[in-house]
């Protein structure tokens, strides 16, 4: 699709002059999946007719509109799932998917710190104890993923591809704001379906000095750390601190106490680790290990994956030592 475009040396700007959403909706349902024109944003959305022709059993649409609402209480986006179920036809999924995770990211003077647990859960079981939820997209952009793991992995790869193509076509790297807008617009046609991606894009922008300003970016190129939250329900927020997932309330409360602009890299890592640890302690759908990435002016760097089980025992030992030192016989709640 996009590669054909590159090989034929067509300027995608000319082809996408009709990029108002009106023309999107009109075209969306009539495209076949093999349509080969250089449509930058035209991703195929399954419609009822196509699914009716599919030989795969689970791809058929229920006509009652009854929702495939999962009773997963830890769903990170309960309101958006409810809306999705009521305003579009539901396609039954092959197996129940779950959205348990704890990811967080914040901006400080040393760059952007992103951290996540590594438990991938499915229907109440731990499907993978060592998943990777913080995915590098390019040398100065890292994305945390929450939602359906498969959707997140796929869309991160698509985003990486599109950012690389942008860089090749325009000779400069797209800013984090632009990448967030791109991802948000790519996900918009899937609003109302079961696709669930809630990502934070953490990047270091090397901006300033570029002559042409794209009209869809409200603020100019700014150099430095940048953090955006993008969700498949259409939300796109710029901020200094975000946490996403079923464990996010627990992480927020630790982060709100400890995050400041003036932290050093070690302090920031410690706060992020602590927040993920506390969230994994309380949230059943988060756990196992913690990954910490730091995006700074030199690119992203990853701390070695740490098993939080060890942290639990270390803290228990610390508490016991404190009690012995205090000389009381009251045991602290664990």
């Amino acid at each position: 699709m996009a590669l054909q475009d590159l090989c034929r040396s067509r300027d995608f700007l000319l082809d996408s002059k009709e990029t108002f959403f009106g023309s999107f909706w009109g075209n969306m349902t009539s495209r076949s999946p093999l349509h080969s024109s250089a449509d930058f944003f035209h991703f195929y959305t399954p419609t009822a007719k196509y699914l009716g022709q599919s030989p795969i059993e689970f791809g058929q649409v229920r006509d009652s509109g009854a929702a495939v609402l999962r009773t997963d209480p830890s769903c990170s986006l309960p309101t958006s799932v409810a809306v999705a179920a009521t305003c579009s036809q539901s396609v039954p999924l092959p197996f129940p998917m779950s959205h348990g995770t704890t990811t967080l990211a914040f901006v400080f003077q040393g760059g952007v710190l992103a951290a996540a647990d590594t438990r991938s859960s499915c229907a109440g079981l731990v499907e993978c104890p060592s998943a990777q939820k913080v995915l590098p997209i390019h040398s100065h952009l890292v994305g945390t993923t929450s939602g359906t793991s498969a959707d997140c992995a796929l869309w991160k790869r698509i985003l990486a591809r599109e950012l690389r193509l942008y860089q090749l076509r325009h000779g400069r790297r797209l800013s984090t704001a632009g990448a967030a807008k791109l991802l948000s617009h790519m996900l918009h046609p899937f609003k109302g379906t079961e696709l669930c991606v809630a990502a934070t894009l953490c990047g270091w922008d090397v901006g300033g000095g570029d002559g042409e300003e794209r009209s869809n970016r409200s603020n100019g190129n700014s150099c430095g750390p940048s953090l955006y939250y993008v969700c498949s329900d259409g939300t796109r927020l710029q901020g200094a601190l975000f946490s996403v997932g079923s464990g996010s309330p627990y992480a927020y409360s630790i982060l709100d106490q400890g995050v400041r602009w003036g932290l050093t890299a070690e302090e920031a890592t410690a706060v992020a680790r602590e927040a993920v640890y506390r969230a994994t302690h309380r949230d059943a759908y988060s756990g196992n290990n913690v990954d910490v990435y730091l995006v700074s002016s030199g690119g992203w760097a990853r701390r070695r994956r740490e098993d939080l089980k060890e942290e639990y025992y270390r803290e228990k030992a610390r508490r016991e030592r404190q009690q012995e030192a205090a000389g009381t016989c009251v045991t602290a709640p664990e």
Binding site: F20, W25, H188, C231, G234
Partner: protein
């Protein structure tokens, strides 16, 4: 959850919106701006479903700017409001309706200030004052009681503070701060943000 309010005076329109961007029970952002500048003298305030607000508002914003580029002059507030309503109506009976509630406030050099109320069912009404959100239930009667067509700007800001004081007292959700802007013949002006600690007339 979200709150918008607009008050029209004889030569200005005062608008305010809360600053919270929420995702289920969490406030993700405390300084989110819900006003979109359509042109030098028109503001669109937009609340509703998560992605629909920004997508729809930016679509309207870019189209209004395109009109100016193509024709050399800006759309009037009334024309912009009708254009917005028409788009809402077109999408209403499609597979993907936009669930957004809007206030459009503007100043026309010929017609003066105007405030338009639009909701997700694509209704449109030109009103002297309007509010959206659960907070509207609590504040519309205050506006009914105290509004006069010849309010000065200070009186309008006091009326706004009365409404926000009532929200802080009775509304179950915490809306800590509000963006406030005024549109008059000189354009759009930012006023001081009203936060929970701001002194208001009523206690």
């Amino acid at each position: 959850m979200e709150y918008l309010i607009g008050i029209q005076g004889p030569d200005f329109v005062l608008v305010a919106a809360d600053n919270v961007a929420a995702s289920s029970i969490i406030q993700m952002k405390h300084d989110y701006d819900k006003m979109f500048k359509l042109s030098e003298k028109i503001l669109l305030l937009c609340v509703g479903e998560a992605g629909d607000t920004v997508q729809f508002a930016e679509y309207i914003q870019k189209n209004v700017q395109l009109y100016k580029m193509r024709n050399g002059y800006e759309l009037s507030p009334s024309a912009a409001a009708n254009f917005t309503r028409k788009n809402l109506a077109e999408y209403l009976r499609s597979r993907t309706p936009y669930h957004v509630n809007l206030l459009l406030a503007g100043y026309d050099d010929a017609d003066g200030p105007s405030l338009f109320y639009m909701d997700y069912l694509s209704s449109l009404a030109k009103t002297p004052f309007a509010a959206h959100g659960y907070g509207a239930f609590l504040t519309l009667s205050i506006l009914d009681r105290h509004y006069r067509p010849d309010l000065t700007r200070e009186e309008a800001v006091d009326l706004l503070k009365m409404c926000i004081a009532e929200l802080n007292r009775r509304f179950i959700l915490n809306l800590p701060s509000f963006n406030v802007r005024v549109i008059d013949k000189e354009g759009i002006h930012d006023l001081e943000k009203i936060s929970a600690g701001t002194k208001t007339d009523t206690n």
